[in-house]
């Protein structure tokens, strides 16, 4: 019970620290269990310091910094027990191009260990970093179709409704 939770927390924290620095290109972060002697009732607090800034609790970071930090945490949990497929639905929406670039590099690395990724996105840079693209269209209103696309066609596809 309690030991297993402490061990899994340590594993997640370890991955989280590494992933945070990879996604931000620097800086540091860590997880903290708080507010209860019994870890089974504790809360999870996230402390983060993007490169060149001050260490702060998650809620004081910028919108994009919060998302990137939360992704580091999700992937940290994922890495403690990797699955054959990982699906990401528009997680890159508030990220700038530099952060998206590091995010895609991390995905490529995790994919090299065997996980297949399905990445739903509106972000042009993410599209450019994919190994292949599928488009979902509604040529007939209310009816979805799946089509294979190349990058140029994707640019056109996302611009028509």
């Amino acid at each position: 019970g309690r030991e297993r939770l402490a061990a899994s927390f340590a594993a997640v924290d370890g991955h989280f620290r590494t992933l945070f620095s990879r996604l931000f290109g620097g800086g540091q972060a860590y997880l903290a269990l708080s507010e209860a002697d019994d870890p089974l009732e504790a809360g999870l607090e996230i402390m983060a310091c993007p490169p060149g800034k001050k260490l702060q609790v998650l809620s004081l970071l910028s919108g994009g910094e919060q998302v990137l930090t939360a992704l580091a945490l999700r992937f940290a949990v994922f890495l403690t027990n990797p699955a054959p497929v990982c699906v990401l639905d528009e997680v890159d929406a508030p990220l700038d191009d530099a952060n998206v670039d590091r995010f895609c590099s991390l995905l490529s690395e995790m994919a090299s260990y065997g996980t297949r990724f399905l990445v739903i996105t509106h972000h042009r840079m993410t599209m450019a970093r994919m190994d292949r693209l599928f488009g979902v269209t509604m040529a007939e209103r209310g009816v979805s179709q799946l089509v294979s696309v190349d990058l140029q066609r994707a640019e056109a596809l996302r611009e028509t409704a």
Partner: protein, 184 residues
């Protein structure tokens, strides 16, 4: 265990049969707002055993059946099939029988072969949903266990649904820990 393809028919806006090949590496899915991208994600979570209609953006589970649109009547049936391939010993015994088997012989050798699994979930109006694995009836519980063993599953850390990252950021510390426990 590896996922190789997802086929759906009559599921939400995918009234026509569609197949998504799940190849190695990074596969991007793009398209305008409301065209069906998240519906694909929900189809995958549904066939893996998601039991809450609310988690499927539906009032009741029947609502995942194509509900009709201008020029097309509603359907009565929705079906999603997930194709898997992997070592025989990664599959719970109860689900193993009945499928194409690249392994040979029996006993220990049979435990080492490769096997292909079609996990199919179907729902019909007023009749509820049922599962078949390689054509043979299976219980929802066994299917959920299969995916849990593979560290995947409708609510595992491997499925980051639209808005879930925001949910994690806004959650209070105690809720956040629960979210991670659920995923872990």
């Amino acid at each position: 265990l590896q996922f190789t393809s997802l086929r759906l028919s009559g599921f939400k806006s995918f009234v026509e049969p569609a197949e998504l090949v799940i190849a190695p590496g990074l596969t991007g899915i793009v398209g305008p707002n409301g065209c069906g991208k998240s519906n694909l994600v929900e189809a995958l979570r549904w066939v893996m055993g998601e039991s809450s209609a609310r988690q499927m953006r539906a009032g009741e589970m029947e609502d995942v059946i194509f509900g009709g649109c201008a020029g097309r009547p509603a359907r009565t049936l929705a079906e999603v099939t997930l194709c898997l391939a992997g070592p025989r010993n990664r599959v719970p015994a109860v689900l193993r029988a009945g499928g194409p088997d690249r392994g040979e012989g029996s006993g220990a050798a049979a435990e080492e072969g490769e096997v292909e699994l079609d996990v199919r979930r179907r729902i019909e109006r007023t009749k509820g949903s049922n599962y078949r694995v390689n054509g043979r009836e299976a219980r929802a519980r066994d299917v959920q266990l299969l995916f849990a063993d593979a560290a995947s599953g409708a609510r595992s850390a491997a499925m980051v649904t639209q808005g879930q990252v925001t949910e994690l950021i806004l959650a209070r510390p105690a809720e956040r820990r629960l979210l991670l426990d659920e995923a872990a």
